[in-house]
């Protein structure tokens, strides 16, 4: 088995007296898609925030390819290879769809501090952004303002921004939330494509069991900030812990 691309070691964060993520240790490997499940408030998004750097850890470590990134800022982690799509759509609303993607391509290539060139003359950036829009089937909306876009298309753009980062770690936080039944397959198809890349490590927070069944190689269960189960989908889904967590009953001491 290959060595972990991403690992959290006893990762903990406290907000006052409340321990939102409690000593979570977990390793992820390239070519593997891990679904992260758990009831609302289990700490899934907080754990994501600790990994991508929006929240500073109280203790524990985040290791990326063997390198300790616990003290790095958000932007530095992104450059190191952590890519994240957000649960609530989080875009640049007054800019066009193409401009949104181009900004991310430009960030990855470190061209943002160029003050005296014309952005429009960087055809390499534009071409790459257009390719990505093609992949998420948004080419025809390229010149629309994002705020005028329907919700489903905004979710696609959210994924497009993640693709534009070309990260080593792909983090999806409920990518199909609020999407209609006929829109969701586009996003799920894209995730399946990413998963087919043996170098990609994919983390997916998801509630929908059919999505998990279709995509996940492994399931990790969080409950009250603690990692309570970790294993292959069939095992974990059948376990008492998951049954109880999803039925909303109390879990006995784990």
């Amino acid at each position: 088995m290959s060595s972990p691309s991403l690992e959290t070691r006893a990762l903990t964060v406290r907000f006052g007296g409340h321990v939102a993520v409690n000593a979570v240790s977990c390793a992820f490997r390239p070519g593997e898609l891990t679904a992260i499940v758990g009831p609302n408030g289990a700490g899934k998004t907080t754990w994501f925030n600790l990994i991508s750097g929006q929240i500073a850890a109280s203790s524990g470590q985040v290791m990326l390819g063997g390198r300790d990134i616990t003290r790095l800022g958000v932007a530095a982690r992104t450059h190191a290879g952590i890519g994240r799509a957000f649960q609530l759509t989080n875009l640049f609303p007054a800019l066009t769809v193409l401009e949104n993607v181009r900004l991310v391509v430009q960030a990855r290539r470190g061209a943002g501090l160029s003050l005296l060139t014309m952005a429009a003359s960087r055809r390499d950036l534009t071409a790459e952004a257009e390719d990505i829009l093609d992949r998420v089937r948004l080419s025809s909306q390229a010149h629309q303002l994002v705020r005028a876009l329907p919700h489903g298309d905004q979710r696609k753009l959210e994924v497009a921004l993640l693709l534009a980062l070309r990260p080593r770690i792909y983090m999806f936080d409920e990518p199909t939330a609020g999407m209609s039944v006929d829109e969701a397959p586009v996003i799920l198809g894209l995730i399946a494509e990413i998963k087919a890349d043996p170098a990609a490590t994919v983390l997916l927070v998801e509630h929908k069991m059919d999505v998990i069944r279709a995509l996940a190689d492994r399931i990790v269960v969080l409950h009250n900030g603690t990692l309570v189960a970790d294993g292959n989908p069939a095992e974990v889904m059948a376990s008492d812990i998951v049954q109880e967590a999803y039925m909303g009953r109390e879990i006995e001491d784990v």
């Binding site: 800022g73 958000v74 957000f86 640049f92 014309m118």
Partner: protein, 351 residues
Amino acid sequence: MVRFLLSGDGPRSLVLSVIVGAIFLALALAPFLFPGTRSLEVAARIAIFIVLVASYDLLLGYAGIVSFAHTVFFGLGAYGVAIATSNMGRTWGALASGTLAGTAVAVAVAFVIALFSLRVRAIFFAMITLAVASAVAVLVSQLSWLTGGEDGMNIQIPRELTPAFRLETEVFGTRITGRILNYYLVFVSCTVLFLLMLRVVNSPFGRVLQAIRENAFRAEAVGYRVVIYRTVATCLSAGIAALAGALFAIWLRYVGPDTTLSSEIMIDILLMVVIGGMGTVWGAVVGATIFVLAQNYLQNLMKSASDATSALPLVPDLLNPDRWLLWLGVLFILSVYFFPSGIVGRLRARG
């Protein structure tokens, strides 16, 4: 060529192109089209305020940073020239070193303010700039041995730029004086600075500023160090404001708290940005021109309107030139009401 100079971001509206073209031509030929001291004074002021307002819009409209310290940078440039010439005499070297020193100090001050305060919330940044602006105004009036205090300083500039200097040549029947040369120094410098800013806002850097204004959280998440971009924008804006201040000092041959540092000027800048349109440097061209013209000619216009209506009751009183500020206020409210995105925003939206 034009596309290159305008960085691919032209006025993008027929009406706006005509307006901007007319302003450019009027300023370019001002000494010949509008002879007279007063009109040349107004033309130079328009050119300088276009640059000053555009540099402020770089912060407010593009980066979404609210600052009240812009007059400080404007003043640093102006005082730089004044102090250099009072120590080095009326030489070109004094003008250059004063301009450079003033600009360097402005950039350094902006850098310190930015580093200290751009990490905090926007409202605190605005407060800090307000405090810095007041502190500088007090310092300038107290350090009178250096700055001339409230009286300000007269500036000795090279003779070639003063009205006393006359060339033998005449152009369009107008004798070329040092005053006209000085005007063209202002006009050409302002044109270059304006085109430079137009380039910056259309560069990859300019796009990042817009992204940060839209969603700083996501900008950071896709890999931009927001604090670095905001700091560079603040320093750049301060540097250009200082250059505008230096030009203003050279033009007026005088600098004082009232011409550069007062809070009235800060408010004027804000009004010009809002009237013209935030988030586009073209807004500065329209906003500064309308505002400076109104400041200088609204009273005359009202005087003639008041005289013309003298037979009517009440109307002449309302149009009395002493009420010009009232009417300026009314104009401002109307423009914000009818053009919330500024005149340029409105014209561009119509296509």
